[in-house]
Every structure is written in C-alpha cells, then in structure tokens.
Amino acid sequence: MTIRQLELEVMRYDPEKDEAPWFQNYSVPCEEDWAILDAINYVKENIDTTLSYRWSCHMMVCGSCGMMVNGEPSLTCKTFIRDLPDKVRIEPLENFPIERDLVVVLDDVMQKLHKVQPYIIRKDAPPQDKEFKQSPGALEKFKQYTMCINCMCCYAACPQYGLNQNFIGPAALALAHRYNLDSRDQGKSQRLDILADHDGVWDCSFVGACSEVCPKHVDPAAAIQQMKIDGAMEWWKQKLGFPGGES
C-alpha cells in the first residue's frame, strides 16, 4: 500500500479557551484510497485526541461529516485524498456558528426543517384499512428530493443564507417541495405562507451553489425555482379568482 503524506491544516476552536478560531497543522501518513474523514480519524486516534468533529456512518448516509475541504462544503467520507493536493485545509461548515473545532451549531436549520411541515398533511380522511396508492410516475416526481441526508453542505455554500440567517434555505425548501409534490399530500396551501414569505423561496437568487455541492444530487436549487413558478401561479389564480388548486 502506497503511503502519501498529507499536510492537514485544521481549524480549532475551544470556546473555553479561545477568543477566535486558529489553525493547527497535522502531518498524516495516508493510504492512497483514504477519504479525508480517514485522515481526520487518524489524527484523532494517533496524534491529537482533543480534536472534535462529527461523523457516524462513513458511507454517505448519516450526513454528519460535512466540513469545508479546501474551501468547498464537502462530505468528508466521500472526498478522497487522491483528488486533493498534498496540503488540505479543513474548516467547519461555513455560515454556521462554531461549537467546537469542526463541530457547528445546527439548531437554526433544525428549526427550519421543522417549520416547513415535512409530513403528509391530509384534509380528507386517509383511506380506511388500506394503504395510499401511489404510481411509480407519482413517486418519480419527488423521489430526488427524498435523498437529502441533512448534511447542510448546501447551507454552507449558499451566500443568501450567509447574508440573511432568516432565509429558510435550500434543504428545508427542497423538503417542503418534496411534500408539496407528493400525490398523497394536501398541505400545499398550508405551507404556502411560509414558503412564499420574504425569507422563503423569493430570498433565493438562484446562485445554484447549493446544487453544485450537494453530495446526494438533490438539486435544491431546482426545487426552489419550481416553487417560485408554483407560487407565482398560485398568486395569479387567487388574483383572477380561480379556486386554489391542490395537487
């Protein structure tokens, strides 16, 4: 196995001791097939046990190992050292407060995910004693938006979220769209107030950065643009006195 020496420059912050974050260098002997997360784990196990960071599955499912790798929001378990230069800078996800080292405070986005009512809302009673039927075509409409693992890389990439922390933001809006598109859901008009608000879809200026960094190809920017069109149509329908259609 070839070993490659990687110079990691890791942002450190201890709220008990530090006024501001600073960088610490670690020289890590890496195997060629390692991901950045392996290199960070190596540091934790062999060099510096005080380093704090989040990770769990190491297979792109849990969404907890998102960090800035050379300035790019990345899932560190799928960012391979073979694709990186010998010097790699690791920082906590941008646009979030730093809790400690590479761990960020996610309370804000957790609240936003909750706020968009990400569950099936029914006005009619659900079918009695049998399951909801949904065709493969109806599933295809929103399937891509179910792939989100809440890694929050999209929030770290989104300059609008950096500028306005009230912006609901890419992942939560994509999640709302996922339920709006679900053929079993009847909650679209209930979600409209939150989505069509200042801090909803209209705060997005279609930078598209969120979709570029999303490791699961959720394409939140697409969801947001579709919601803008939807919202505008809904507004016209109301203005022209059409009954509000529920999809």
């Binding site: 407060p97 809790e99 295809e140 300059p159 950096g162 200026s205 598209g208 394409d219 579709q226």
Partner: protein
C-alpha cells in the same frame, strides 16, 4: 475566553469575491445594467419615433458611432453567454416534464428552448426585413 459558539464574520460587501462560482453568478447578475440601458435606448428610440421623422433620423445617427456599436457588440456577447446560454442550461430545473410516468431528460427542454429561440429570431429578422 468566550464560552460560546464562534460566529465567523460574513462580509456583506465582498462575499462574492471569495469563490469562482460566486463571481460567475455576479457576472450574470450584472447583465441587469445592460438590460436597463437597453430599455432606456428603446424608450428613447420610441420617443424619437413619436416626435416625427427628423427626430427618428437623428436618433438613428446618434447610434451610428464606434462607441455605440461597440456597446451593442459587447452587450450582445454578454447576453449570449450570461443570459441565453446560462438560463437555457438552467431551464430544465425550473420546468421538469414527465412523459408517461418518467421524467423527461433535461436535454429536451434545453433543445426546445434553442428551437424556440431560433424560430423567434427568424420571425424578428423577417419583421425587420432582413430575410
């Protein structure tokens, strides 16, 4: 010692200089200035037309100098790259189309846009008497 989460500064005025993709975005957004100037020119042209033949001729003459021609050439290229190509590429995102329960590949939406563009351009050239 601060004992609380650290909030990194976010510059409201220079954030777009930090990354290549933000710069490209800003270049796209700057097209609004050109759009504004074009709108101004159109209104000025229409006003001249309404005033009578003499005003219209002098408006046309005012457009026929190197500076104005250069502006039109730059604006045309700029629009092509940052409006037409960029927005057409993004179009499938905003309008996903399903045929027979399958999502249609975005390419068709993009191709549809180019066809519509060609047809409309041909129509305008025809109106202008060029073809």
């Amino acid at each position: 010692m601060s004992s609380q989460p650290y909030v990194r500064p976010f510059s409201k005025t220079t954030w777009y200089m930090r990354k290549g993709r933000y710069k490209v975005y800003m270049l796209r957004e700057v097209t609004c200035l050109l759009v504004g100037f074009y709108a101004f020119l159109t209104i000025a042209g229409l006003a001249a037309l309404a005033k009578g033949p003499n005003a219209w001729i002098s408006f046309l003459v005012s457009q026929q100098n190197t500076a104005m021609i250069a502006f039109h050439a730059i604006a045309l290229l700029y629009f092509l790259f940052f409006q037409t190509f960029a927005w057409f590429k993004l179009a499938p995102k905003a309008m996903p189309i399903q045929v027979g329960g399958k999502n249609l590949s975005g390419q068709y939406v993009v191709i549809g846009h180019y066809i519509a563009w060609a047809v409309l351009s041909a129509f305008i050239f025809w109106l202008a008497g060029v073809i």
